[in-house]
Each structure stands twice: as C-alpha cells, then as structure tokens.
C-alpha cells in the first residue's frame, strides 16, 4: 500500500492541445488537493537546433546562430505571454503556481525541468498538438513516462 504521498511540486506540460486542456483540469485538482505548487510548462521548438545556415548565404554562421537565438528568445517571450494569458486567471488565488517556457525537444526539456524543480508528479496530454503528423504520435508522453524519474500521468481525450 502506498502511504504518505506528498506532491509538493506538480508539473503540467501544455501545448494547448485538446489533451493538454484536459490534463490542466486534472493537474489543477491535484495541486489543490495536495496544496502543491503547480508548475505550468510549455516547450517550444528552437528555430535552428542543428545550427545550420537557415537564412541564406548572406549571413555568416556566427550571424545565423545569433539571429536564430534572437528569434528563439522572441518566440519564447511571446509563448510566455500566451501562457500567462491562458492560465494565470484560472490559477490566481486558488493554487500556488509557476509558469515557464523552455526551448528544445519537449521530452528532454520536460524531464530536465522536472529534475531541476524537484517535481514529484508530471501531468501531460497523451497526444501533442504537433504530433499528429508523426507515425508514432504519442512519443512525448511515452518518452516522458519512460524516462522521467517521478510519477507521470497522461490524459487522453476520447477520439472519434
């Protein structure tokens, strides 16, 4: 029998997908129930993870990387604004919450964040917004479940 469950930090990973919305409701309830801090994380892809010339030959490699970083930071701030707009009102005065946006591969960044923030429970949608094009489109949820060192709950919506 599992006793003394303590979830001081719960991590909700969102990409605004249908499943992520359902996951938020569950994460919110859990955070309220356990008096936990709810971490709301959105991972967005970096523009140029392979550091190649994506702006044509006019820019040097150094300039390309610099420009990619600048655009990444702009995107991150924009995503942070969207995250605040979507979730702050829903959490305010109800649970302690932290919001953050990370750049990179979703599974890697979610696991890294969970370790850094001492997260005891990760909640995320089963199917990500950009995953439907993939052959194995539940990859992020599957990888987080397999490789995270804490409890992971994935929430799926019934599909037609």
């Amino acid at each position: 029998m599992i006793t003394n469950l303590e979830f001081r930090n719960i991590l909700l990973c969102t990409d605004y997908s249908q499943d992520a919305d359902a996951a938020f409701i569950h994460a919110f309830d859990q955070a309220k129930k356990y008096g936990s801090t709810l971490h709301i994380l959105n991972v967005i892809p970096t523009l140029n993870p392979c550091n190649v010339k994506i702006f044509g030959e006019d820019l040097s490699m150094k300039e390309t990387i610099q420009k990619s970083h600048e655009l990444d930071e702009q995107n991150r701030l924009q995503a942070l604004g969207a995250l605040k707009k979507t979730y702050c009102d829903r959490c305010e005065d109800q649970v302690d919450y932290v919001i953050d946006v990370k750049l990179g591969s979703p599974d890697i960044e979610i696991i890294k964040y969970s370790e850094e923030a001492n997260v005891e429970m990760i909640i995320l949608g089963t199917v990500g917004r950009d995953e439907t094009k993939r052959l194995a489109y539940i990859k992020t949820a599957a990888n987080v479940s397999k490789y995270a060192s804490c409890q992971v709950i994935t929430i799926g919506q019934p599909r037609k």
């Binding site: 892809p45 392979c50 994506i54 094009k133 993939r134 194995a136 990888n143």
Partner: protein, 361 residues
C-alpha cells in the same frame, strides 16, 4: 629615406625587429602596469593598453593572477617561466608560455620587467592529439587482444567438436568464432571511418530506406541474441542530401550499442530495440534507436561522445559513438540522448529537412 643620424637608424631597426617578432613583448612596472608593448601585442589586445594592468588586458580580470612570473622577477631579480591562458580581443583563448626578466637601473634595482609571451597552442594541441592517439591505441589493442582470445577459444571448441565428431560442439565453437569475426570487422570499419579524411559523398537519400537497410543488416544478429528488432519508419519523411554509407554506419553503430546493452542486461528477460525515422517538428526529422536494456546513469550520459569514452567497460572502446558524432557533424545534425537507469536508452539524431530552407528575413 633620410636619417639624421646613425643611432636613429639603429633605433628604427630595433623597433622594427621588436614589432616583427612573432611573439608578444611588453614592459611592466612594479604595479603590473604596461609601459611598453610591441606591435604584435597591440594588434591583438588593442592600441589603448598603456597604463592598464597586465591581468586586465590579458585575462579581463580585476585581480592579480595567482601565479605571476613578473611578480616573482620583481621579488628575486630572476628569470621566471610560466604557462598562461590568454583571452585575445577576438574572443579566442590561447595557451602561451610567459617569460619574465627584470630590467635594472644603474645601481642594480629592478625598475621594470620585460614579459615575453609565445603562443604554444598548436604544440599543446599536438600534445593532446598524441595523448589521445596513445589512449586509443591502448584501448584498441586491449579490444583486439580480447577478440583474438575469443577467436582462439572458438577455434579450440570447433577443433574439439571435429575431433570427437560432435557437430553440436563444433557449431557452438563456430558461433563464438563468428561473433568475434563480426566484432573485429566492426572495429576495423570504425577505425577506417575515423581515420579517413575525404569528404562524404552526398546524394539524395530517403531516410527510411537507409534505416530499413541498416536494421536489416542486424536482424539476424538480433534474432540470434533473442532480441526483437523493430522498425517504425515513416515513409513520408522527405529525402535528404546525405552520405548513405555514413548514415548507415551511424545507425549501425547505434543499433550495435543497443544490442550490446541488451545482451549485458541480465535483469529483463525480453529485449526490444526500435529503429525509427519520423518528423521531429515542421522543419526537422529524426532517426531514433531505442532499447529497453538497463539504461545509463546521468553522469555517464553527460560523458558520452567524449572521445574514446565507453560505458561498456572492457567490452567497448568508445570508437563507435565517436564515429557517430563525426558523421552527425559532417551532416550538420544534432544528437540527443534520453536514458534512465533500469529503463533503457534512446539515441535521437535530428537533421534539418532539405525542403525547409525558408528565407526568414
């Protein structure tokens, strides 16, 4: 040119020689302020250096260095030599040898010190290369010795089987011989790949086709080891400009590592390796090789891709991942690793899609 005196010509000659010397020369007072510097020094650290302290100019530091040959020369009036890491103004960091020698006044007091800095970065790089070469030869020799012993053992079992007309025993021996032949073939191919300098032969290549071929090469091996080798290959991933033999070797090395990890894992009874090709995001696609063996600790994951690092102890030489890293960098890709002790490992290689070179102005 018209010089008013012979001494003026001599001064000019000395100045030209000092400026032309392929090293940095400066003179410092007892507070380490720069009183003079040759042109080579000014070219790299800027013209505006007189009166500034040596540690500020060379290291960007407000504090004196722990080891300072100039300080020692002021103290004991002797010549001192140290090795220093210097920050050039173009953000480059170089390793240098610093010589310091005191300059005396008429009564023998040290009034300043001359410091000479020589770039030894190239020599140091060569030294490191030699150390690496030594390490690699030691590791490979050890590996080859193990394989030869395996071959000898296998051959002995085959001979005994033949002598006793015991086909079962002979087959057992032949399996050992066969395993060691494929190991030595693999090592030799990796050595050749890491040693050759020629450019990869890029051509339009379908990622899922290479992955299917690479997985096929190991299918028999996997089934003989009782390991399931699955393929999840998305045929919609568009063709890439790649060196097919390089990408095939990259996948081969990752699959080989996964097979060895599964073989080493005595905890689980069923092992599965999955080779994948799929979209990563809108602009990138990925190859993945995932196993359900015992995984690696975080500290080990961080050290992977360091030259000749192996997590396999005696049964690995670190060459495989080094070759993977080299192939990925030739193709401007990126490697990511997910691993958890007890759960398994996933190696992901991301490449930019050739059809995604957008003008993002």
């Amino acid at each position: 040119m018209n010089y008013t005196s012979n001494s003026e010509l001599i001064d000019l000659t000395f100045k030209s020689i000092i400026d032309a010397l392929p090293c940095y020369i400066m003179i410092q007072d007892q507070h380490f302020k720069i009183l003079f510097a040759n042109q080579a020094f000014k070219n790299h650290f800027g013209e505006d250096i007189y009166g500034k302290s040596c540690h500020a100019v060379l290291k960007g530091s407000r504090h004196q260095c722990n080891v300072c040959p100039v300080r020692e020369s002021f103290k004991d009036k002797g010549v001192h030599i140290t090795e220093e890491t210097i920050h050039l103004s173009n953000i480059k960091i170089v390793e240098m040898i610093a010589f310091s020698s005191p300059l005396f006044d008429a009564v023998g007091n040290v009034i300043a010190c001359i410091k000479l800095l020589v770039d030894v970065g190239t020599i140091k790089d060569s030294q490191r290369e030699f150390v690496k070469l030594g390490q690699s030869i030691a590791l490979l020799s050890h590996d080859i010795k193990n394989i030869l012993e395996g071959l000898k053992g296998g051959a002995y079992v085959v001979e005994e089987g033949m002598k006793d007309h015991d086909t079962q025993l002979a087959n057992k021996g032949w399996a050992i011989v066969s395993k060691n032949i494929s190991e030595i073939t693999r090592i030799t191919q990796n050595i050749l790949y890491s040693a050759k300098k020629q450019k990869p032969n890029f051509k339009d290549t379908k990622p899922w086709v290479i992955a299917r071929q690479a997985a096929y090469l190991f299918s028999e091996k996997a089934s003989s080891m009782g390991i399931q080798l699955l393929q999840e290959l998305n045929p919609n991933v568009p063709a890439m400009k790649a060196d097919p033999s390089g990408i095939s070797r990259m996948l081969g090395n990752l699959i080989w590592n996964a097979l060895q990890a599964c073989e080493k894992d005595k905890v689980k009874t069923k092992h599965v390796i999955v080779v994948r090709v799929d979209f990563f995001d809108n602009y990138h696609f990925m190859f993945e090789v995932e196993d359900n063996a015992q995984g690696m600790k975080k500290e080990i994951v961080e050290k992977l891709f360091k030259e000749y690092f192996t997590s396999k102890g005696d049964s690995g030489n670190g060459l495989g991942l080094m070759v993977v890293d080299r192939i990925v960098s030739h193709h401007h890709g990126r490697v990511e690793v997910l691993s958890k002790k007890g759960a398994g490992s996933l190696f992901r290689v991301i490449f930019r899609r050739q059809d995604s070179y957008l003008e993002m102005e």
